[in-house]
């Protein structure tokens, strides 16, 4: 499954480590929330970088204390229709100030890329190769946005008011 980051397909720097497998001493790993929470202090401080897959039916609050030490947080879309991870993403980015990689996993399809970016995701485990290849073009689909999110884009309302002020200022 191709990983898209920085707008293009890239190699995945994280290694997925199954719950039963041993944790390597170094290297960047991606582990389940259950495993991480079982030994959170140690795991968040290990030499290599640690990333956690957080389930979409659990509050992100339990992960918040460790955010500053995590390489990435992977959130889950079990089907593309299950939109809980959008709320989780916004909370992590906007309320808790998470600055690391926020990865979308699960059924990640082309037609949700723009929503995901706006919610704060910056890495995508894309289900279909063709969708991954179309990423750069797809995210250009929309240039106007009505509501504010943490992505810093100005809303239509405020753009409009800016235009108005600059018009009247120019008179």
């Amino acid at each position: 499954m191709p990983l898209v980051k920085g707008g293009k397909i890239t190699a995945d720097p994280l290694i997925l480590v199954a719950d039963e497998a041993d944790i390597p001493g170094e290297g960047a790993i991606l582990i389940s929330a259950a495993r991480f929470l079982g030994d959170a202090e140690a795991l968040s401080l290990r030499a290599g970088r640690t990333a956690v897959i957080w389930p979409n039916n659990r509050d992100v609050d339990d992960l918040v204390p460790y955010l500053g030490r995590l390489a990435a947080v992977a959130l889950v879309f079990p089907t593309f229709r299950d939109g809980r991870a959008y709320s989780q993403a916004r909370l992590l980015r906007e309320r808790h100030g998470f600055k690391g990689e926020l990865r979308a996993t699960g059924q990640v399809l082309r037609d949700q890329f723009v929503f995901m970016l706006r919610a704060g995701f910056d890495a995508f485990e894309v289900k279909k190769q063709s969708d991954a290849e179309a990423f750069a073009a797809t995210v250009k689909r929309y240039s106007v946005f009505y509501q504010p999110t943490g992505d810093g884009r100005i809303t239509a309302l405020h753009r409009r008011m800016q235009l108005r002020h600059s018009e009247s200022a120019g008179q």
């Binding site: 229709r81 959008y86 929503f115 689909r141 509501q147 108005r164």
Partner: protein, 551 residues
Amino acid sequence: MYAYDELDRTIINERVSEFRDQVKRRLSGELTEDEFKMLRLQNGVYLQLHAYMFRVAIPYGTLSSKQLRALAHVARRYDRGYGHFTTRQNIQFNWIKLAELPDALADLAEVGIHAMQTSGNNTRNVTSDQWAGVAPGEVEDPRIWSELLRQYTTLHPEFSFLPRKFKFAITASDHDRAAIKVHDIGLRLYKNEAGETGFEVLVGGGLGRTPFIGKTIKPFVHGHDLLSYVEAILRVYNQYGRRDNIYKARIKILVHELGIEKFAKEVEEEWLQMRDSALAIDDSVIEDIRSRFSYPAYEKLPHMPEELKKAAHDPHFEAWRKNSVAPHKVTGYSIVTLSLKPVGGPPGDATADQMDAIADLADKYSFGEIRVGHEQNLALPHVARRDLPVLWKALDRIGVATPNVNLVSDIIACPGLDYCSLANARSIPIAQELTRRFANHETANMIGRLHVNISGCINACGHHHVGHIGILGVEKNGEEFYQITIGGRADEKAEVGTLIGPAVPYGEVADVVEDIVEAYLALRARPDELFIDTVKRLGVEPFKERVYATR
């Protein structure tokens, strides 16, 4: 009328391009139906019995004449020459081809009409009072806030994949014509003692399988906090609404299962963390939106012009005027309702020719503006009283002047089994027969205000739960049967109706309604005691006895 600018039009156009691409990928097989279905729903495209159905948004029920002509064009060019106005102030076309939808959407985009989020598990059309901006006694125009909400909810990245659909309604009048108490979020606009504009916020109203009347979650939310508060509600719902069972996934179930106090607490906790965020609305924002609504330059006109005095001699005109014309907040003007419930006709339908004719009349007599009501009628909101006689003649010629507004033959009905793949039974022929039984205008007038609502299945798109008489189609052994309820209402005293007895077969429904009406006429305390009040006073027993005595 709200004027879309470059930015609004850009969003609509970008949406059309996106959908065009999605349709292409569906027809080529690159997208499976499972992947495509939610995408097409988000553009208002359903699959019905014989064809796709295309639901176009009419934000808070306001249309310009240009927009109405564009709807007529779509009906002619891409459909079978007519459209159906719905209980959520939208319009539906029943024969549209998927392959032609992007073109139909592009044509509509040229006049600022779209179909975004008219279906799917997202936030739907924000509906309001069809008399907004012109009703006497209104606090202020609720459409300004509806537009604010429309923008906020359109293509919201966090809330486009909710557990289930989500519907808003706003009213700013004491008499609620927007049915806010049966919406997921209902907003009652008012000014508090300090004179500040704000909202009573209700949540968890809804019809369908498990009807609920909305509960007040917060008695006053300041206008500045409306969007942040709504976001808090949506976020709690998005995270905790059930996703395991589509029949238990609406917010009304979450509110019911948690209890309103606990739910309110969850929302409050969330809200307090974000109320002073970018979503705080300041006055300049409201003013900007308000400034883009244009209002007519009303003339100073007399309340009783000569034209009206003369026309009073015509009993047909008078019958219509007394029924379909309502007072306007500006002296000398009136609000005219156009009945889309002709005798023998399917309720809420209009042909392309009728739409064009109404658009022309709107230009001549209503400053180019038309409204759509959730009772599936249209309205011309700015008619000078001196123009009423000449307008009436024109409306009568095109068949939209049946003087039955709010009477027993002003029926609200879903499309039913004739069109809809969810239906168990037909609703339109039942409505048609009822209009024939009650075609006599004097009789209907004598009966008085009586709302009949018909739904072809438990999804309740006909709002039968809140009908004075509610009719619900069910299936028994392959035959169409109908459950009858009475005593429902959708206004500020909203209530769910009560079943009067076992379901009756298709052929008997009209007889049953006649029996109910006869019972009412015999039992009412005075000629002006409304049906709904007689039911409230006496309960269902006397009606039940009358209906089932010989059945």
